[in-house]
Structures are given as C-alpha cells and as structure tokens.
C-alpha cells in the first residue's frame, strides 16, 4: 500500500468530521444572519406553522427560553403525543440533520479499509510517525464509527422532538451539529495519533467541545452538570498531562531524542530503559487522569451528572465511546508500564480502581431513581469490567475486554437513544413516574428493554461472551485475581438485580397506546442487531480482534 | 582578644540599655512628624521612665508573685538577650552560648511572664490580653525558629554568631530564594513579637483591639516603668538581630577595638534607620482585625518553612 493512500486513510477519520463540523458552522452562520434580518422568522421555516405554533405555546415551555421546571424534565407531558406524531414526519424535511451521517460513514469506511491493511501488513504510519494505525486503533475506530452512526442517525428524531417541544431554537440545533462532529473529530484524532502529547491534546479537546453539549439547555441542572464536567475532567486530565510530562522526562533521560520521546512505538521499544521510580509516578498520574475521563474512581463524579443532562445522542456518544477512547489511552500507557516495571504494578493499580468503581456503581445503582443516571452508573460498571480485563492482561482477557468495549458501546448507545425517546414521551426522567412504556409505545419500550437485557449480559448479545471471557481469564490468572474476580462478579450481580427490577418497573404496567411510528427507530434496531451479531460470531473481525489484543499483550 | 570581647559586650549592652528608649522615642517622633505633629522629642521615653520611677509602688489587691515578678523577669530576659545576640561583634566570650534556640526560648519566657501577670490580675482585660498574646506567640515563635533555621542551613550551625559571620563572608547567601523568604518571614515575626502594627497597636487603649496594653493595664509606678523598659529593650534587640542577620556588613569579626567601635556605630545607625522605616510604614498601615492576625502569622510561618525547604533542596549538592 503506498504512502500517500496510508496518509489519506489516517487523516480522513479525524479530518472528515472536522470538515462536516465546519460545514455546519458555515451554514449555521448564514441562517443565523438570515433569521436576524427577518426577526419574525424565528427558525419557523417549518412546513406546518399551525402545528408548530400549537406545540410551542404549550404552558411551561415557552419557545426558546427554558424555565426551571423544564430543567427537571417534568414539564412537557401533554405535548408528548404531538411530538411523537411530529417526529417521523419532520424527518424527511430536515436534510441538514441527515447530513451528519457523513462523518460516521467515513469513519467506518476508513476503519474497514485500514482493517484489511493492518491485518495483512501490521501497523501503518504517516507524517513521520505522528499518525499511526495498528489493530487496536482500527478496532476502536470501527467502534467509534458504529456508535456514532447510531447516535447521528437518531439525532434527527431527537432534534425534531426538541424543536416541537420548543426546547431548542434553530441556531442551537446548528451548534449541536457543529459540536457533535468536532467531538467525533477529536476522538478520532485521539485514536489515530501515535504521539502521546497529541493524544492528550485530543482528549482534552473532547472535554471542551462537549461542555456546551452537556449544558446546552441552560437550565440550572444542565449548567451545574456542565460546570462539574469541565472542572473535574479538566483537572483530572491535567494530572494525565503531568504524568505524560514525567514519562517524557524519563524517556529523555533514557537517551531518546526530543522528537521521539513521546512517540508510542519508540517508548515501547525503549521501555526497559526508563527509570522505574519516575515511570511509576508518571503511570499512576496517567491512570488517575485518563481514569477521570473514563469514569473510574476517584474522579468519576462528573459522569452521572453529565450523562443525565446531555441530549440523548450525545449521552450515547459519551457513554458508548468517549469513555472507552479514554480507556484506550490508559491501555497504551499500560503496555509501556508493563514493559518498564513488570506487570504487577499496573495490575494492582487497575484492579483496585476497578473494584472500587464497581462497588460504587453497584451501590448507587441500587438506590437509583433516575433512569438516565441509572444508565450512567451502568457505564461505570462496564468500564470497571474492562479495567479488570486490562489488569488481568492475558490474551483472552484483552480480547474479551476489547469485545466488551464494542458490545457496551453499541448496547449503551441504543439504551441512551431509547431513553431519550422515553424522556420526550413522558417528560420526566424519574423512574418512579414512568410506568407502562411497553404498553404505551411498544417499539420504543421493547428496544429499551432489549438494550438493557444486552447490558445485563444475556446471550445472544456480545456482552455475554465478553463477560464470560473476562471471568474465565480472571479465574485462570491466579489466586489474587481470582478473588478480585469473585468480588467483581458479586458486585455485577447486585448491579444486575438493580438494573433489572428498575427497568421492569418502567416498562411493564398499563398504559394508553399512542400509535407510534417505528420508522424513526431503525438506528436502534441496527445497533442491537450489530451487538447480537458480534455475540454470535465475530466473523471477519476475529483476526482484527486477536491482533488488537496482541498489540496490548505483555512482552 | 578577651578584653576586647568583654569590651564589645559591655558596649553592646550599654548601647542597648541607653538606646532602647531612645529608639522608641525616635520612632514616635518620626511618626509624629509624618502626621504633622510636633512630637514630644526623642528622649521623652526616658523622661516618662524617670517620672514613673519616682512614684509610689502600688499593686492591685489579690495579685500574687506572678504579677510582682513579671516586670523583673521581662527586663532580665531582655538584658540576657542583649548580651547574647551578636550585634557588635561575632567574636565575644559568650558566642558559644548564643544559640538560636536559647534566644527564642528567652523571648518566649519574657512573653510568658507577662501573660501570667495579666492572668494574675484576675480582670477581664488581663485575661483577654494574655489569651491574645499567647495566640500570637504560638505562631510567632515557630516562625522565628524556622526563619533563622533556614539561614543556619548554609552555615551548618544554629549558633547565631556563626550564622552572622558566614553571611558577612558570603553575601550571596542572602539573595538566594531561601534568604529572601527568611527575611520576609522574620520581618513579620519581629513585628508581631514586638507588638507593632499591623498585629498590635502600641499606642491604643481600645479594649477591642489592644493586646500588649491589655496585659499590662494594671501596672503603675516603677513596675510600669520596668514593663515599658522591657518592651523597649525587646524591640531594640529584635531590630538589631534583624539588622545583623540580613545586613551584617560592618560587624566586627576580629578582636580589634577599632572594628568593634566602628561596628557599634554602624549597628546604631542600622537600627535607627530600621526603626524610622518601621515608624514611617506604620503611618500607612491599619491594624489587622484580630481574626486576620493568625492568617498573617500563618503566612509568615509558611514563608519560613518554604525558606527551610528551599535552602535544603535548591542549595544542597
């Protein structure tokens, strides 16, 4: 494969979403100027002005503005049926919303093309090693692409619902698209770069870009979530940068030239020469710092707030892939640390963090009263399982962990998008006030239920296979890890019970059928189908998965 | 050497005893002139002392030995300090005993004696002043220890004459971060220890704010004269110590009488300049609220601690 094509394939996953974001920004600016010129046309270029007016005038949700009750997600009950009617119809008339599918498609195509090359030829690099793709990169790119496809494809329905409820003016819809695609670009950059400094810059960029997505409703709760999110993540990520600096210092002292001292393959090759004490300090900081972004203890407090306040597709992206992109960064450092310090250090560190996170998530799931927060804590639970897999570090555990990342991404994205639908349907995110979703809206309810079933780890979904793999690897790895695994399984069981009873409460019970149209829900069906397919047979992805696990294997 | 050494001590003590009230007078005069008043003159403290000494000794009913002995103890500790602290010469017969820790202990002993006396009177003001003084002292003593300790690290000894002689030899020690931080910390500590603004106002009798004055409110006649004299001695010695530590130029390190006389002249000059600068600064300062005082002192303690760490870690090879 020639160099130019490699460079192109490595550049495009990050560049294409950026270009899409820029396109949205330009169009947004133009429409904004136009709507300013004609103040009465406040984004109501909608084909059915009467219907729009009717929904906009709904009490408690004045157009554009957001009242306090609105912030608690309790306000727009009565308008719900109208939204449901409106959502599918508005779909075809908003081509701009659908243009957003371009970036996930490009990411998936590039991922697929890279996959065939990487499986045959090994790692590819471009721009003198700045961008690099190995099997792990490609696997994560495919996961990002797939989850982004679900999120972007369910965005039009979500936005239509929000517009109908008058919660967002047109300008902020443009801003939503710009930020989502910039977010995708930052995540892809974090994946394809081999420079650990650039990796940090990209992950910090995801925080900055998503801040306004979390706080986009301007209600008290959203602003609070956004503030916590930015402050905790930025401070946590700053720790990771300090760790990066220390590793850089150790590499420079080990005689690596300045230009290569943050290059991942170089660091891996020279890892045995890094000073152990400095590396230990650096790795601890990196794990804590990127752990903040991956939702691991002790800097996890932002996660449930941000996930519950962000719009559903953004929650899906954050929970489905942002956490695992940050965790992929930890995995990269783990390989270096294992080569420099031996496997025990990161094993103890990651096992401890994983068990603490798991205990916290299970405990808070038991007492949970908000279904979006429930899903957020379930994400923490799954990330701690992945961390446990990384701590075990055998080929089986690593492959299972990577499969778990993919399965969790797909299932959680589906669950969050479905929960967004339920929120628009019922106007509240309190579990206690939602009954009979299945009777009221069978498709939505069934999809939400199936997604939760997938998250619980039932076959045929891939989380069953991956959890089984992690457990087997854990018990095979020795007495200490065996006990840790047993404790983890007990905690997973508690989380399982909590999640199952809460979801059953929400779905079952009597309800008025609303006559929903299932056509807007195809992305969710696709996500669940993909998750199930991965669980039944990895198919052509098997080689990629085993090679990705081999990238992370201990020397 | 011995004769000159004893002469240096005698000169130093004589200068401190004669000069301490004059220093206070000088500071009051400076302040008065800056505020546009004529002032009472530099020798007014001596006149006050003379007047007080002529009065009949009186002590309040119900006070015990703590009240009676405190003024004497205060003056005695201050005089011992005046002997020990190397102001004129570093080469004196007592230099082996002029240890940093002894100096701080003597300072604390004087403070403690006054605080006990304040408690002994059994009045509200006495107790209040004593409690405030102890609060301040608890933060000031460690600060002085730390600051001088920071300076002692490059010298390798806690002996004050050795530190001063070392600093006179190598002035670069003082411009290092450790030296600068220690100067700042010690300056704040000296202000607090000698009861000056912004920690305590020496010329107030307002019950809400006074610290030192509240403790000695019940004294009259010769006892009051002693207390005032003790306080003046402490101020003079502390300012002299500050001058010796941070501007040690000219201090006699050898046994020649000329050097000692020159050093005496210089130290009188330095202390006078320091005192005038302090008085001038006090014109522009307001007293801190009592609850803010611990912040200031904790800050100076932190500076002293930073000075210690800096001289340990930055300087050491």
């Amino acid at each position: 494969m020639n160099a130019a094509l490699t460079a192109l394939l490595l550049t495009v996953p990050a560049a294409a979403p950026l270009a899409v974001a820029a396109g949205y920004a330009l169009v947004g600016l133009v429409t904004r100027r136009a709507s300013r010129a004609v103040p009465t046309a406040r984004g109501e270029a909608r084909p059915r002005p009467q219907l729009a007016e009717k929904t906009v005038r709904h009490p408690g949700t004045a157009a554009g503005g957001v009242s306090v009750e609105d912030g608690k997600g309790e306000a727009s009950d009565a308008s719900a049926p109208v939204e449901q009617l409106l959502a599918p119809r508005a779909r075809g008339r908003r081509p701009a919303d659908w243009a957003g599918l371009a970036s996930p498609t490009v990411i998936l195509v590039c991922g697929a093309l890279l996959a065939s090359d990487v499986v045959d030829d090994g790692a590819l690099a471009a721009y003198s090693g700045l961008l690099r793709a190995d099997a792990l990169t490609v696997w994560m790119l495919l996961v990002v692409g797939a989850v982004a496809l679900i999120a972007c494809a369910s965005a039009p329905a979500h936005l239509a619902g929000e517009r109908a409820a008058g919660r967002i003016p047109d300008v902020s819809a443009w801003r939503y698209h710009v930020l989502v695609h910039a977010f995708l670009a930052a995540m892809c950059l974090a994946l394809v770069t081999a420079n650990l400094g650039v990796l940090w810059v990209a992950i910090e960029a995801t925080t900055i870009v998503t801040a306004f997505l979390v706080g986009h409703r301007r209600a008290r709760t959203s602003v609070e979530a956004a503030w916590k999110y930015v402050v905790i993540c930025s401070a946590g990520i700053a720790l990771a940068f300090l760790g990066t600096v220390l590793i850089y210092y150790a590499a420079r002292q080990a005689g690596v030239a300045e230009a290569w001292a943050l290059d991942w393959p170089t660091l891996l090759a020279r890892a045995d020469r890094l000073d152990p004490a400095v590396t230990r300090l650096g790795i601890t900081l990196v794990v804590l710092g990127y752990g903040a972004k991956a939702g691991l203890v002790p800097l996890h407090a932002w996660l449930p707030d941000a996930h519950s306040q962000a719009p559903a597709p953004v929650s899906a992206l954050m929970s489905g892939v942002l956490l695992s992109v940050a965790f992929a960064a930890i995995l990269r450092y783990q390989v270096i640390a294992d080569a420099a310090l031996g496997p025990d250090f990161t094993r103890v560190l990651l096992t401890g963090i994983a068990l603490l996170t798991l205990a916290l998530a299970a405990g808070l799931l038991v007492a949970q009263r908000d279904y979006k927060r429930m899903l957020a804590y379930s994400s923490m639970e799954h990330m701690s399982l992945v961390a446990l897999a990384a701590a075990i570090g055998s080929p089986l555990a690593l492959a299972a962990g990577l499969l778990h990342i993919a399965g969790h991404g797909l299932a959680k994205a589906t669950a969050f998008c479905a929960s967004g639908g339920i929120l628009q349907l019922r106007g509240t995110s309190k579990i206690g006030r939602v009954r009979g979703v299945l009777a009221q809206s069978p498709w939505l309810g069934a999809l939400f239920g199936l997604a939760v079933v997938a998250l619980l780890g039932f076959p045929p979904f891939s989380l069953f296979a991956s959890e089984l793999g992690i457990a087997r690897a854990g018990f095979a790895a020795g007495a200490g890890l065996g006990w840790a695994m047993a404790a983890a399984l007990l905690l997973v069981l508690i989380a399982f019970a909590a999640l199952a009873t809460r979801t059953a409460r929400m779905l079952l019970g009597p309800g008025e059928p609303t006559g929903e149209s299932p056509s807007a829900l195809w992305p969710l069906v696709l996500g669940l189908a993909a998750c199930a397919a991965l669980g039944i047979a990895v198919g052509p992805l098997g080689d990629l998965l085993s090679q990705a696990a081999a990238v992370l294997e201990r020397p | 050497m011995n004769a000159v050494g004893y002469a240096a001590i005698a000169l130093q003590v004589g200068a401190v005893v004669v000069g301490a009230p004059l220093l206070t007078g000088l500071m009051r005069q400076t302040r008065a002139r800056l505020e546009g008043r004529a002032g009472a003159g530099v020798v007014q403290p001596w006149r006050d002392t003379r007047k007080l000494l002529r009065k009949e000794p009186i002590s309040p009913v119900g006070t015990g030995p703590a009240f009676r002995w405190a003024p004497l103890l205060l003056v005695a500790t201050a005089l011992v300090l005046a002997v020990l602290v190397p102001l004129v010469s570093t080469d004196t017969p007592v230099r082996g005993r002029a240890d940093l820790i002894v100096v701080v202990a003597l300072l604390a002993l004087g403070t403690l004696a006054l605080a006990l006396a304040g408690l002994d009177t059994g009045t509200a003001f006495g107790g209040m002043g004593a409690s405030r003084e102890m609060t301040i002292a608890a933060l000031v003593e460690p600060t002085i220890l730390m600051a001088v300790f920071a300076l002692s690290i490059p010298a390798g000894s806690t002996n004050l004459p050795v530190i001063v002689a070392g600093a006179a030899d190598q002035p670069a020690r003082l411009t290092s971060p450790a030296g600068l931080l220690a100067i700042a910390a010690l300056a704040v500590a000296v202000l607090a220890e000698s009861g000056r603004l912004p920690v305590d106002n020496p010329s107030t009798h307002l019950e809400l704010t006074m610290v030192h004055e509240a403790m000695v409110l019940e004294y009259a006649g010769p006892d009051l004269a002693l207390v005032e004299f003790g306080a003046q001695l402490r101020l003079a010695v502390l300012l002299g110590l500050l001058a010796s530590l941070f501007a040690p130029w000219g201090i006699a390190t050898s046994g020649s009488l000329v050097a000692v006389l020159l050093a005496l002249l210089l130290v009188v000059l330095k202390v006078a300049v320091l005192g005038m600068a302090l008085a001038a600064a006090e014109v522009f300062w307001a007293k801190l609220r009592l609850f803010r005082v611990p912040e200031l002192l904790a800050g100076s303690f932190l500076l002293a601690l930073l000075a210690v760490t800096a001289s340990y870690f930055l300087g050491g090879e």
């Binding site: 912030g71 420079n195 402050v231 940068f241 220390l246 850089y248 | 340990y312």
Partner: protein
C-alpha cells in the same frame, strides 16, 4: 551566562513562582488573585527564558515569549473581563450596594485562610518528598527546582477544591496548569513544540468555556457560589 548566576536566577524565578501560588491562598479579592496569577505567568516565562538562554535554544526563547503573552497577558485579561462583566451585571440589575463586594471576593473558602496556608506548607513538603526520585535521576540546578512545579500543582488542586467562587476555581485550575508547565520546563526543557502549542490552545479554550459557563451559572443561580450548585445528586 555563568553557571552560578544561572542557578541563582533560576532559583529566584522558581521562588517567585511558588510564592505567587502561596499568596493566592492568602488573598480574598479576586482582582488581587488574578494579578498574582499574572505575576506567576511572568515567573514561568522567566524560567523558560533562563533555560533557553542557558541551553542556547532560540525556540525556547520564543516559547517563553508565547507563554508570557498567554499566561501573564491574555488569560488574566479574560478572567478580569469576566469579573467586570459580573460586577457590572449586578450593579445594573440590583440596587443593594453591598452585593458588589460579595461578587468580587472569596469571602468564605471551605478551609479558612490560616489553615489553607498551613496546608500549603504541608503540600510543599509532600511535593519535595514525591519529587525525590525525579531529582535523583538527573540532579542539575533545573531538576533540583522540580518540586516547586509539583508544589504549585498541588496548591492549584487545593485552590480548586476549597474555593467556592467560580472564578477562583478557574484560577485554581490555571495554577494547576502553570505548575505542570513549570514541571515540564524544569524536567526536560519543555515538551515538543507541537504539544506545547496544542496544550496552550486547549487551556485557552478551557478558560473561554469556563468563562462562558460562569456567566450561565450566574444567570441560572443568581450567584457564582459553586456551593449553590447542588441540584444533581443521588
């Protein structure tokens, strides 16, 4: 530049850098805190400049100029602008005159000032203890000052955790970042240029985002006390 003079000047710059962080804990007025932060930026630029002169590296001198412009000029300017916006907003909207002083001061930090200062002392000692392996790896004048950077990181974290005004927390975050940058300079004469650029850009954007969020917090809650943000909990 002679070795001795370089060490002396570097130590002075590091001392000023640490001192600025400590005094931030001391002061309550946000204006004074921002001014101290600007001073710290200057000290950081001085560290980079000294290293650049010492190693004869022109790129470091350029980086030093950039850091000075960003951290002593642009970022303090942004925070000060947010501050004046908050105050002006308040004066317009409300008639109570004493409220103005409330919004520009950190009146009640979670830990009082005296205790904060003592904690800062403990944090400094901790930084020295933690940094011992770092210094031992390559003891030069620059790496020997490494604990200063780590101490500022810890103090920044402390400010972030204990201060309750939104803008004071922003300054805490920036102190943290200054500390990390200083660590990078003292340990390895700075990270590669592309990373340095990216980091500076990210920090600038983060401050802009936090500034906007401060305005929104004020709109939504009527105050910038972060303690009032307690609607989301389990």
């Amino acid at each position: 530049m002679s070795e001795g003079l370089f060490t002396q000047l570097l130590d002075l710059a590091c001392g000023a850098f640490l001192l600025a962080a400590v005094v931030v804990l001391w002061r309550r007025e946000l204006v004074a805190i921002v001014r101290l932060f600007a001073l710290q930026g200057l000290a950081l630029a001085a560290i980079a400049l000294l290293l650049g002169l010492h190693e004869d590296r022109w790129d470091l001198i350029v980086v030093a100029a950039g850091i000075g412009a960003l951290r002593a000029g642009l970022l303090p300017y942004l925070i000060r602008r947010a501050l004046t916006a908050l105050v002006a907003d308040q004066e317009q909207g409300e008639t109570r005159p004493y409220v103005r002083s409330e919004e520009v001061r950190e009146t009640q930090p979670l830990v009082n000032v005296a205790a904060s200062l003592l904690t800062a002392a403990a944090l400094t000692l901790l930084a020295y203890a933690v940094a011992r392996p770092l210094v031992e790896l390559d003891p030069t004048p620059a790496t020997r000052a490494l604990p200063v950077g780590l101490a500022v990181v810890l103090i920044g974290f402390f400010v972030l955790v204990t201060r309750r005004r939104a803008l004071a927390q922003v300054v805490g975050f920036l102190l943290l970042d200054n500390g990390i940058t200083a660590t990078a300079f003292l340990a390895a004469s700075g990270v590669p240029l592309i990373v340095e650029l990216g980091v500076s850009f990210d920090v600038l954007l983060a401050v802009l985002v936090l500034q906007l969020l401060t305005v929104r917090v004020r709109e939504a809650f009527g105050t910038t006390y972060i303690d009032d943000l307690r609607e989301l909990h389990d």
